[in-house]
Symmetry: C2
Subunit: 196 residues, 2 copies
């Protein structure tokens, strides 16, 4: 378990980079790789919506409001980005509730659990308990590969003390997600195959 | 259709009042009545979660970020509250996707559609199309009564030109929701009866 894990980007580790890159087009490779993955998922969701496949939303990054100026309506003058306490995405596919977290890594050997919060584990456990479909989408940027792994499998590993999951294990227990022109990341193809 | 509709509060028409009342405990009866309804739904959802009944979340009020100060991390220095483009609540109950909007009114005669946005209609139509359970919870504060009405029925009325739904019609096509000690507003009892 003592392996060297390099986990640069996760697409939303830093709301800071997210907003900054959106605003100034800063070209930080690691942040952008995460951003691209997120962008590709968002465009896939738009494709699913436009083609009547599913309705999947990206949750907004939570913001903690500290100070509000009421003199001109309600203008927020001081606030900070907060960590997502649930997951990135949820929605409905064929009546079923779907909930997932998207992460990307530059590592060639493993995906670290360091960026999965305790809140997210609790949230995903609740989703599973109530019959929802819960998973992780993990992007290995070094290989340009995306895998869907059932949340229950990641949770089980994390709870038994694992700090990461090896790339080979991901290939073994996860399902490769097809990357296409549109939808870019066709994760519902895997969902359809595995859950329906 | 030319009836006088008084529609004071809707519990989130004004994020302004929401934040203000939370902060300063301003005692505006109409705003507070909306707040109480929201609070009761939130506590009901907490009860559902604690008792392994369902996982239902309140969506956060969207915030449009205008200016961010990066000199000390990422501090938002200028932002405004936005109208919810989807609905207030979504989640999972027995594997099924649930999505609803909660509204309250002081009117004794009708519930106005004025506070339902076009975006919300589009969103709820998509939920229905994908097999999700979509409804409105409407609180008539004058009678202390809560009704669950299928979103499809409200959408149909709104699309055929109705500006409101009469109280008597609500009683006819909606389902009364039991108010208890805990959960305060047991809307899942109605969902269970009608959708399962």
């Amino acid at each position: 378990m003592e392996e060297k894990v390099i986990n640069y980007a996760n697409g939303k580790k830093s709301s800071f980079n997210k907003v900054k890159s959106a605003k100034k087009q800063v070209n930080i490779s690691s942040a952008n790789r995460g951003m691209d993955f997120e962008k590709d998922i968002n465009s896939s969701n738009q494709h699913y919506l436009d083609n009547n496949v599913a309705l999947i939303y990206k949750r907004t990054t939570p913001i903690k409001v500290i100070k509000v100026d009421y003199t001109r309506g309600a203008v927020i003058k001081n606030a900070v980005y907060e960590k997502q306490s649930t997951t990135d995405y949820n929605g409905v596919y064929k009546g079923k509730y779907i909930d997932f977290e998207a992460k990307s890594t530059q590592s060639k050997t493993s995906f670290s659990f360091a960026n999965i919060t305790a809140h997210q584990i609790i949230h995903l456990e609740a989703v599973i308990k109530h019959g929802g479909i819960a998973f992780f989408l993990i992007y290995f940027s070094s290989y340009s590969e995306v895998f869907l792994i059932e949340a229950s499998l990641i949770i089980k590993l994390a709870k038994t003390g694992y700090k990461s999951i090896k790339y080979d294990k991901v290939k073994e227990i996860g399902c490769a997600v097809s990357q296409k022109y549109n939808p870019r990341i066709d994760y519902l193809e895997v969902v359809e195959k595995n859950y329906f």
